[in-house]
Amino acid sequence: MTDKRFDVRRLPAAATLAITCFVILYIPMVILVANSFNSGKVIGDWDGVSLRWYAAALQNDAFISAGITSLILASCAALVATTTATMAALATTRTRGFKGEGTIHLVLNEPLMVPEIVLAIALVIILAQVRQFTGYNGLGYLIIAHSAFCIPFAYMPIRARLEGMDLTLETAAADLYAGRFYTFRKVTLPLLAPGILAGFALAFVVSLDDVVISDFLKAPGQDTLPTYLMGQLRRNLTSEIYAISSLLLLISVLIVVGAWLLTRKKT
C-alpha cells in the first residue's frame, strides 16, 4: 500500500487538461448568454444590459412557430421512443433468452453507429417517394425519423434500471396473488419510473437539438428551432440569435435537471 501507484488523479497534467476542457466548453456558453442581454444591435458592440432581444424574439412569428414545431416534435418523438424503448427493455430482460435477442440490440442501437448524415440521405430518398405517393407533407415524417434515432438514448437508462432491479420483487408479487398486469402496474412500473423519466428527458433533448435529419427531411417552409437558427445565421447576424439560442439552452437544461431531480427523489 505504501508504494506510489499510478493514479490518474495525481497526474498534474490531468487536472490542467480537465480544467482546459471545462473552460473551452463553458466559456463560449457564458459569452453567448451574456451577449443575449446586450442591447446593442451589432455583436461585439456592448451597449448596456437589456431584454430587448428576448422581447424581439417573442414577437417574431417565425421563431415562435419554429419553437412550437420543435416542442411538438420532441414531445412526440420522446413519447414514441420511450414507449418503444420500455417495451424493448422489458422484452430483453424479463423473458428468457430468445433467438434474435442480439439482433434486437443491434437494431435498437443502430442509430448510434450509423453516421447521421448517411441516415438522413437514406431517409430523404425513401421519403421523397412516399411524399409523392401520399401527398402528405406534415410533421409526421420528422416525428417518425426522430423517434427512431431517439430510441437508443431512451433505451439505455431504462435497461440499466431494469437490470438493477431485484427479480424476487416480481416473484414476491406473483406469490401474493398479483397477476401479470397488476404486478407490472404496482411493482415493475413504479420501480422503473425513474429510468423511464430519464430516458424520456434524454430523448427529448436529443430530438430538440437535432439539425441534420430535420434539415434534410423538413418540408419546404417547415422549420424546427435548430433549422430556423441555421437559416438565420446565414442571413442577418443580430443579437436576437443569441437570445433564441439562450432560450433553447434553457429548455434543454431545465428538462435534464428536472428529470435528474425527479429521479433522485424517487430512489
Partner: protein, 353 residues
C-alpha cells in the same frame, strides 16, 4: 393436507442436466411446523419453490386439499412465501406492503386497512405502518415480510431460511417469535434451514435432506435418538461412530473387552453413540466397556468435552455435565475405563464413510 408424490426436478437437458430433487414423497398435516433440513445445495430451496409455484416440477404431483396444484401459477395457490432477502417492495410503506396481497385479490380498502392493522399488531410493528420499507432494521423487515405473507391467510406459509440474515441474538428471539406466531395462527409452516439446532427447537417434524433425497422424516427427538443412517446421525448433533460386527445376537467391537447382546442381523455394523451417553469410569452392567486414554479436556461452561483415544487409534468424545461430576473424574493423559450403556447404542448399516 399437502401430499407430495414422487416430485422431482431436473435443471438443464442432456449431458449438463442437474437433478436437484429425486422423486420425493411425503405428507404434511394441518397446523404442522414442518422443517426441511440439509446441507447447502441439497435441494431445499428447489422443493420450496416448487410448492410455491415458482418452478415447474419435472415430474410428480403436488396435492393440496385434494387438488393437484403442480402446474397452478403461484398467484392462484393459497400458499405464501417469506423470502430469504425479505423481498419487500421498496417503493411502498410497511402498511402497503402488508396489504399488497389483499389489494391484488380486489378486497375493499376498509377490509384491507383492518387486516393490515391486525397483522402489524401481531408482529408488533403497528407504530411503523407508514415508514418506507427501506428505512427498517433487518429484524423489522423480517417481521414485515412475515405479516405480508400472513395477511391473505394462506393455507401454508413457506419460509426459506428466514432467519439466516439476522445476528445470533435476534435470531434466537425470532425463533421464539415465529413459533409463537405459528401456534397463535394455527397455520401450517414449511420452514427451510441448514441449522440443525434451529430445526430441533422449532419443528414438529423434520425432513433431513441430502443430495436431492430425503434421508429421514421424523420428530426432533426420534431424529436425534434414532437416526436412520450415518448421514442423519452425523448431521444432527455430535456423534461417535465405531465400527463393529454382529454375530449370533452379539455385538462385537474390536476395542471392547466383551461383546454385548444386540438384536441385529449378522454382519458389519456402525455403532453410533452420543457423547452425553458415554459414561466415564466405573463399568456398568450390560454396557460395552472400553479402555480409553484421555487426550484433551475442553471446557464449555455447562459441560466438558472429553476427547479420548482408543487402543486402535479411533477417537471417542464424551460430554460430561459439570454439575454432575467433579472435574477430578479424569485427567489428561490417564487411561480410564469407559462404558457405553446398551440403551445408548444405535446400530446402523455400515456404509462407506
Amino acid at each position: 393436507m399437502l401430499d407430495i408424490r414422487n416430485l422431482s426436478k431436473r435443471f438443464g437437458r442432456g449431458e449438463s442436466a442437474v437433478t436437484a430433487l429425486h422423486e420425493v414423497s411425503f405428507s404434511i398435516k394441518e397446523g404442522e411446523f414442518f422443517t426441511l433440513l440439509g446441507p447447502s445445495g441439497c435441494g431445499k430451496t428447489t422443493l420450496l419453490r416448487m410448492i410455491a409455484g415458482f418452478e415447474p416440477p419435472s415430474g410428480g404431483a403436488l396435492v393440496l386439499d385434494g387438488q393437484d396444484i403442480a402446474h397452478t401459477p403461484p398467484n392462484r395457490r393459497p400458499v405464501n412465501t417469506v423470502f430469504q432477502n425479505y423481498a419487500l417492495f421498496p417503493h411502498m410503506t410497511v402498511a402497503e406492503n402488508v396489504g399488497f396481497a389483499l389489494g391484488a385479490l380486489g378486497k375493499r380498502q376498509a377490509e384491507i386497512d383492518e387486516t393490515v392493522g391486525r397483522m402489524l399488531d401481531l408482529v408488533q410493528l403497528g407504530h411503523l405502518a407508514h415508514r418506507k420499507s427501506g428505512e427498517l432494521s433487518g429484524g423489522q423487515q423480517q417481521r414485515v415480510a412475515l405479516a405480508r405473507a400472513l395477511a391473505p391467510k394462506p393455507r401454508i406459509l413457506l419460509l426459506d431460511e428466514p432467519l439466516s440474515a439476522l445476528d445470533m441474538k435476534l435470531r434466537k428471539e425470532m425463533q421464539v417469535e415465529l413459533k409463537r406466531l405459528q401456534r397463535e395462527t394455527g397455520l401450517t409452516f414449511i420452514f427451510v434451514t441448514h441449522d440443525q439446532e434451529e430445526a430441533l427447537t422449532m419443528s414438529d417434524r423434520i425432513a433431513v435432506m441430502s443430495g436431492g433425497r430425503f434421508q429421514q422424516i421424523a420428530e426432533p427427538r426420534d431424529l436425534y435418538d434414532q437416526p436412520a443412517n450415518r448421514f442423519v446421525a452425523g448431521f444432527i448433533g455430535e456423534t461417535n461412530f465405531l465400527d463393529g460386527r454382529c454375530e449370533g445376537g452379539q455385538l462385537i467391537l474390536p476395542e471392547a473387552e466383551a461383546p454385548v447382546p444386540a438384536a441385529h442381523d449378522d454382519g458389519p455394523v456402525t455403532v453410533m453413540v452420543r457423547p452425553e451417553r458415554v459414561v466415564l469410569g466405573a463399568a456398568q452392567p450390560g454396557a460395552l466397556v472400553l479402555q480409553a486414554k484421555v487426550e484433551q479436556l475442553v471446557y464449555f461452561g455447562t459441560d466438558t468435552h472429553v476427547h479420548m483415544a482408543l487402543a486402535n487409534g479411533n477417537t471417542l468424545v464424551a460430554r460430561v455435565q459439570n454439575a454432575d461430576q467433579s472435574d477430578a473424574a479424569c485427567r489428561e493423559g490417564e487411561t480410564i475405563p469407559v462404558s457405553l450403556p446398551g440403551g445408548a447404542l444405535r446400530l446402523l448399516p455400515q456404509e462407506a464413510a
